[in-house]
């Protein structure tokens, strides 16, 4: 009697837990959409996008997902491009300098990075608002010290060509594997930031240094960089290659001669032994001919 009473309760519990499970399984996950804006020296705008989601406390990259980048302005939205995320959940979109972008009323640019979502992940939008600025690099010399200066001015809107003050600018020199940071100052009231170039930094074989000035991930301007070559005084001197060494392509002569002497010593004996075999054969032939005659 007791057993028959308990069965409906077990059934009900199983039903509830089953529904609960399904409800969790069907729940959509909201993704983490990241976007970084970089304005390169030639005016190209670069959007680095990352898309992932946290599932069961694990970060999972959302791959092969289409992400749209729009420029939004007073006149409406303009699609700049669509990119698909890679196996690492990352995508890059480059927008050329020749593409005109709609401005908002302040003369700033608003970019919208949009992911439409799918059956498991909800849609997401990331908005980037930047003021378009220009970096102009000049080289100079002060008290026998070579310097590099960067002037930061606005480009669009009401206050176009206005120097921007108190913006941190970082200075780098491009090296083989990474960038060498040699200065970082905020711009002065004239919008200029100056740094002393390192004295003994070797350049390429003609002394050229690739100098980079960069506003890094600024809330108002994003990342903006400018690159210029500087003719330095320290050209890279490549030591003439040592010839005929143990570590060189050509072996040292003593080694070549030793090998030749050893090999010719052995092979001369081998040839002599073969000549003996030929002589043995000839002696036999001669004896046979004598016997026959």
């Amino acid at each position: 009697m007791r057993r028959t009473k308990i069965y409906p309760i077990i059934f009900l519990l199983a039903l509830i837990s089953g529904f609960g499970y399904n409800a969790k399984a069907d729940e959509l996950v909201s993704p983490q959409l990241g976007a970084a804006y970089v304005k390169l020296t030639d005016g190209t705008r670069n959007f680095s996008i990352s898309l992932s989601a946290r599932i069961d406390d694990k970060r999972v990259n959302i791959t092969d997902a289409p992400v749209m980048v729009y420029a939004a302005g007073e006149t409406g939205k303009k699609l700049l491009g669509t990119v698909k995320t890679s196996s690492t959940g990352k995508a890059v979109l480059n927008v050329g300098p020749d593409i005109s972008l709609p401005e908002n009323k302040d003369g700033n640019y608003t970019f919208e990075v949009q992911y439409g979502g799918n059956t498991k992940v909800t849609s997401a939008t990331k908005t980037i608002q930047v003021q378009d600025v220009s970096l102009t690099m000049t080289f100079g010399e002060k008290d026998s010290v070579k310097t590099v200066s960067v002037k930061v001015v606005t480009l669009k809107g009401k206050g176009a060509n206005t120097a921007i003050k108190a913006v941190p600018v970082e200075f780098y020199i491009k090296r083989l594997f990474c960038l060498y940071r040699f200065g970082g100052e905020k711009t002065d009231s004239a919008g200029i930031s100056t740094a002393a170039l390192p004295k003994k930094m070797p350049g390429d074989t003609t002394g050229n240094l690739v100098v980079i000035a960069r506003i890094v991930e600024n809330d108002d301007y994003g990342t903006v960089e400018t690159i210029q070559n500087f003719k330095g005084d320290n050209p890279l001197i490549i030591e003439p290659k040592a010839k005929r060494g143990l570590g060189d392509t050509d072996a040292p002569l003593w080694m070549v001669y030793t090998l030749l002497v050893l090999l010719s010593g052995v092979w001369c004996h081998v040839i002599y032994v073969i000549s003996l075999v030929v002589r043995i054969n000839m002696i036999g032939k001669r004896a046979r001919r004598k016997l026959q005659s």
């Binding site: 143990l246 570590g247 060189d248 392509t249 072996a251 040292p252 080694m255 070549v256 090998l259 050893l262 090999l263 052995v266 092979w267 004996h269 081998v270 002599y272 032994v273 073969i274 003996l276 075999v277 002589r279 043995i280 054969n281 000839m282 002696i283 036999g284 032939k285 004896a287 046979r288």
Partner: protein, 444 residues
């Protein structure tokens, strides 16, 4: 009965023993052929799928293929040292066993380098070694030394065979295919045992004996330098070249004793290969075991006492029972002491015990070569971060074991094929009167 008649009689008697294959030899032939076929399948698998089917990874880039290479080059010393030295010393008792020794040399020098080709992975690039080889590289020295050694060994074997080929050419009693007789006619040339021919042949043999000994030493020294010239623990040692040479002569002598036992037992050659031969070669084995033991002790004592941290890592792996300790002690003590005891004590010394000692020595020498290569490669100076377990510890795959078995089977099969076409006992030599020359210089 004059000497040529005696030689022909002996020839017929010996060759007849190898003519009709017994059920056992047929069975063994089939078995070896099947093992070789299986090895061929393993090799094709490796070619199709790449070196990933082996146990070799980023740390251990030389596995048991390299062990087999050193092992086979090592046993090739049987012919070079035993045959060469005994020829120069005019040891009359050597005559019945030198052919076996010379055959071991040629066969093992053919098989050994094949393992390097298998290990290389990209056989299509083999000619790059010759086209773009760097003279500074010990690997190129090895290629040059081994090809020269193989050429000289084949010539040495041929010179020793001329007299027997001449006997086979002139023999009318033995039935053989026309093609075989044609080859004997060509290989025996016009040798008729004329005094001038004998003198020239003897001179040629003496020159080759004198050349093949330093050449064999050079081959194994170069092999040792491939290891010794890299600054790695367990390899970077000044005594590595003589250590390798002694180990090679030791294993070559042991293989010669085993081969002597097999031929004596299965082809009833008791009257030619006698107990005396086993005792003489056994004594050489005893001396070599002692020398090898001395070198082993000297090598590891110096390294252990030096206590350099990187060297100690390898020493720890070799001495510790939870790593390679068991194998190390078996190879170091078993491989040295057991042959010494079995040969050294007169009451233990017999044909069978000397052979058992040789088998133990050969197995231990193979293990020793494994212990030279693998633990060192498993101990990098700068280990990879989060290295996979298969990087840290090498374990040979079925492909590698199959090709190893294939190599051993090829060695035995080549022997079975070779002895069909050349007398395993130098008939012409044993039929001749003993030489009475006191000085090596007289022969030149």
């Amino acid at each position: 009965m004059n000497q040529p008649e005696l030689a022909q009689k002996t020839l017929v008697e010996i060759v007849s023993r190898f003519k009709k294959p017994s059920a056992l030899s047929k069975g063994l032939f089939t078995f070896f052929a099947l093992v070789i076929l299986w090895a061929a399948y393993a090799f094709i698998t490796q070619l199709m799928k790449g070196q990933i089917v082996t146990g070799m990874r980023d740390y251990v880039v030389w596995g048991i293929y390299d062990v087999n290479f050193i092992f086979f080059i090592g046993i090739s010393y049987a012919g070079a040292m035993i045959s060469g030295i005994l020829h120069l010393l005019h040891a009359e008792w050597r005559k019945p066993i030198i052919r076996i020794a010379e055959m071991i040399t040629v066969i093992s020098v053919i098989i050994g380098p094949v393992f390097i080709l298998v290990e290389m992975g990209r056989l299509d690039r083999i000619f790059n070694i010759f086209m773009h080889g760097r003279i500074q590289s010990p690997i190129l020295w090895d290629v040059v030394a081994i090809t020269t050694y193989l050429s000289c060994s084949i010539l040495f074997l041929y010179l020793a065979l001329i007299k027997d080929y001449a006997l086979l050419r002139d023999n009318t009693e033995l039935k053989m295919p026309k093609l075989q007789r044609y080859f004997y006619r060509k290989l025996g040339a016009t040798y008729a045992g004329l005094p001038e021919q004998k003198k020239l042949l003897e001179r040629a043999l003496t020159i080759m004996s004198a050349i093949i000994i330093p050449l064999a030493v050079l081959v194994h020294s170069v092999l040792a330098w491939i290891f010794g010239m890299t600054i790695r623990p367990g390899w970077h040692s000044t005594i590595f070249a003589p250590y390798f040479v002694i180990a090679a002569v030791f294993s070559g002598t042991a293989v010669l004793i085993i081969a002597m036992w097999v031929f004596r037992k299965f082809y009833n050659l008791e009257e030619y290969i006698t107990e005396m031969h086993f005792k003489y070669i056994g004594t050489i084995l005893l001396v070599l075991a002692a020398l090898y033991g001395y070198f082993t002790f000297s090598e590891y004592l110096t390294v252990w006492y030096g206590s350099q941290s990187w060297e100690l890592e390898v020493i720890y792996k070799l001495f510790n029972l939870s790593y390679y300790g068991v194998w190390f002690y078996i190879a170091a003590f078993g491989g040295v002491l057991i042959p010494m005891i079995l040969v050294g004590f007169p009451f233990l010394r017999s044909i069978n015990t000397i052979t058992i000692g040789s088998v133990i020595a050969v197995v231990c020498m193979w293990i020793k070569r494994y212990l030279i290569i693998i633990p060192t490669l498993e101990t990098p100076l700068l280990p990879l971060q989060d290295a996979r377990p298969e990087y840290a510890h090498y374990s040979a795959s079925w492909v590698e074991w199959s090709l190893t078995a294939g190599g051993m089977a090829t060695f035995c099969l080549f022997f079975m094929i070779f002895m069909k076409f050349m007398p395993i006992i130098p008939v012409a030599d044993i039929s001749e009167a003993p030489e009475h020359k006191d000085f090596i210089s007289e022969k030149l």
